[in-house]
Amino acid sequence: MAILGPNGAGKSTTIRNIMGILYPDAGKITFSNYTDNSIPRHKIGYLPEERGLYKNVKVMDILLYLAELKDYPLDQAKQRALDYLKKFDLEGKEKVNVDELSKGMGQKVQFIASILHEPELLILDEPFSGLDPVSQELFKQEIRQLADNGTAILLSSHQMNLVEEMADRLFLIHRGKKVIYGHMDEVKKEFANFKCTIHGTNKKEELEQLPRVQRVEQENAHSIVYLYKDIDPVQWLKQLPDTLDVQELRLDRISLHEIFIDIATGKQLMQEVGEAYA
């Protein structure tokens, strides 16, 4: 599941509440029949947004210390650490001091630390920030594999394309309140309305007169016509007037990225979502 929201929406605070680092002013946290303070933290893996490692210690030492804090058997942790270091192209780095690692390598070690103790729930706060495309792909593969093996994953990220690609469910918050929650397909069906992109010389007012048009954005000969959600795309295309100047035309759904921007900037969609959840 992905947790999304603009900066300051409360994503990291929600995560910190789940991890017991901060305590909520109201409400309660439950995790497989456990509530608040009784939640077994060793069953949760956590990669925070604000992250680092002790500098002057060896990679294996810090991995084993963090596994020990999670009550994970050390011999098992050592073997898993070696396997993961190999998997993340860090073979032979176990005796290297953390401050000798590159930033990317450090992030890989942090990721390994969060999954070493075989958590039932893995919380990843901006796991891809600062990673090169190759490392991003490696992280994605590992996250998918963990999910396939039954680990529940809560992912917070601003990279919408990655969220769209990886998450089954979506939880979007704004100013500490839930705005959207549901399966990715349902959310897209519900909120990702169709938009028609037209290249051609057309007056904005004429485009706004078209049926079921929510709003029009225009820049020179490039127009984006946002449509209400209940349209039938084929029928809508059929009723376009002959006078329309069309050099190019594309009809597709608005992306998660656009939904996010609309919510973050408080555009019309936000009002619509508000109405839907009112």
Binding site: G20, R41, R51, Y54, N56, Y65
Partner: protein, 416 residues
């Protein structure tokens, strides 16, 4: 139970991390070497070199007390070579201008009448010479008393002086001579001073090592690992783990220092320290020392968590770091009067109580048990309060990035 287990994991980590840190290891061995170095430096400055520091003292003796003077000087530790002379004061005055470490003393009827013995000394003569020369007043006064017609027995009584010694009802002290009494008194003193100094050393050692908690408390913030650690344990577990860890490191530092320093000290002072160390009083001394550490450690860990790192320590944090040095201002008053007002005051102030108590108890033959109990009660309550306050500060401070907390903010966290 789980919390204690978590704290012990943190403690183990802090110990392991520091014992593998080259800076810590070097510091651990350098500390005792510095102590030894300062000991020898003190002796060098104080003057132990017989070749260069030997003072030649010429005595112009018209009274016939030279042999008594020779015996007095020989019995003392003075590096004096005493010789008789018959030069005049004028010649002596010329002579000292061309010599070093030389003095001429003129002892005659006239000088005794005036009450002042003229001394001519070299220009570079030690400033302490005139004080050392006062030792000669004893044989000269003895000569004066003899001149007054006192018998040898009367002289012995007058010159022995008076010593006040504690005599128990069933003790056989009255049958012992003064020498044995003095020896017993010295042993009793050593049995107080040696364990007291030992506990003081342990306390200073663990408190100074514990000052590293200041840095360690902000380490998780600096390395941005605070959230990862706090996702596995509570801030209190982390804080207590650090306190326990640095206590053990302080003990390790003390043991290393003592193993290196004690044999050197025993050799130089010719005292078998271990014979005087393991006395029942040691338990109380150590309890005071540990209380002192716990008090300062809880303050350090709390305030340390309010800083981004050591280099950004503000005035407030700097003042807190000076707290362990506070008992030093009580050293003078306590040594001059271990039961005086200042000594008692220092006993009841939590920050000075451990140091002042150790100093007082090492200097008092009769321990003021009521004051000790009140002082320990104040210490224990203070530790409890400071641990609670530190916990509140640490909990918020450890997650505050980018800036040092102001005293106002810290006050707000305490009230939360």
């Amino acid at each position: 139970m789980k919390h204690m287990r978590n704290s012990l994991k943190v403690a183990k980590w802090e110990i392991k991390r520091n014992l593998r840190n080259k800076t810590f290891i070097i510091g651990m061995f350098l500390t005792p070497l510095f102590i030894i170095g300062f000991m020898f430096l003190g002796e060098l400055i104080g003057g132990d070199d017989e070749e260069t520091e030997m003072t030649t003292v010429f005595i112009h003796d018209e009274l016939g007390v030279f042999s008594e003077i020779e015996q007095t000087v020989a019995a003392s530790n003075l590096s004096w070579q005493v010789m008789q002379t018959d030069v005049t004061e004028e010649e002596a005055n010329k002579e000292v201008k061309n010599t070093e470490q030389t003095a001429y003393l003129f002892i005659d009827e006239e000088s005794l009448t005036k009450g002042t013995i003229p001394a001519y000394t070299s220009e570079e003569m030690d400033a302490s010479f005139m004080n050392q020369a006062q030792i000669l007043s004893s044989p000269i006064q003895a000569w004066q008393l003899k001149e007054l017609g006192l018998s040898n027995d009367q002289l012995a009584v007058v010159s022995r002086g008076i010593q006040i010694a504690d005599v128990s009802a069933n003790d056989e002290t009255d049958t012992k001579d003064a020498k044995e009494t003095a020896e017993e008194s010295e042993i009793a003193s050593l049995e107080r001073i040696v364990p007291g100094a030992f506990a003081g050393f342990i306390m200073l050692s663990i408190v100074f090592t514990g000052m590293a908690i200041f840095q360690s408390a902000s380490q998780e913030k600096k390395d941005k690992i605070a959230e990862i650690i706090l996702s596995s344990l509570t801030p209190n577990d982390l804080m207590q783990g650090k306190i326990i860890g640095y206590f053990v490191l302080g003990i390790v530092q003390s043991i290393v220092s003592l193993v290196i320093v004690l044999p050197v000290l025993s050799w130089r002072l010719d005292i078998a320290f271990l014979d005087y160390l393991f006395v029942p009083e040691l338990a109380l001394y150590l309890m005071i020392a540990i209380s002192g550490y716990l008090l300062f450690a809880s303050i350090f860990v709390g305030v340390g968590a309010t800083m981004t790192d050591m280099t950004t320590a503000g005035n407030f944090q700097g003042m807190v770091m000076m707290l362990p040095f506070l008992p030093f201002i009580f050293i003078g008053p306590v040594l001059s009067d271990p039961s005086g007002f200042m000594a008692q005051l220092g006993t009841y102030i939590p920050f000075t109580a451990p140091g002042v108590l150790l100093l007082r108890l090492s200097n008092l033959e009769e321990w003021p048990w009521l004051e000790i109990i009140i002082s320990l009660a104040i210490l224990i309550i203070s530790i409890w309060i400071f641990v609670k306050l530190a916990g509140k500060i640490f909990k918020v401070g450890i997650l505050m990035y980018g800036k040092n907390a102001t005293p106002g903010e810290i006050w707000k966290w305490i009230r939360m």
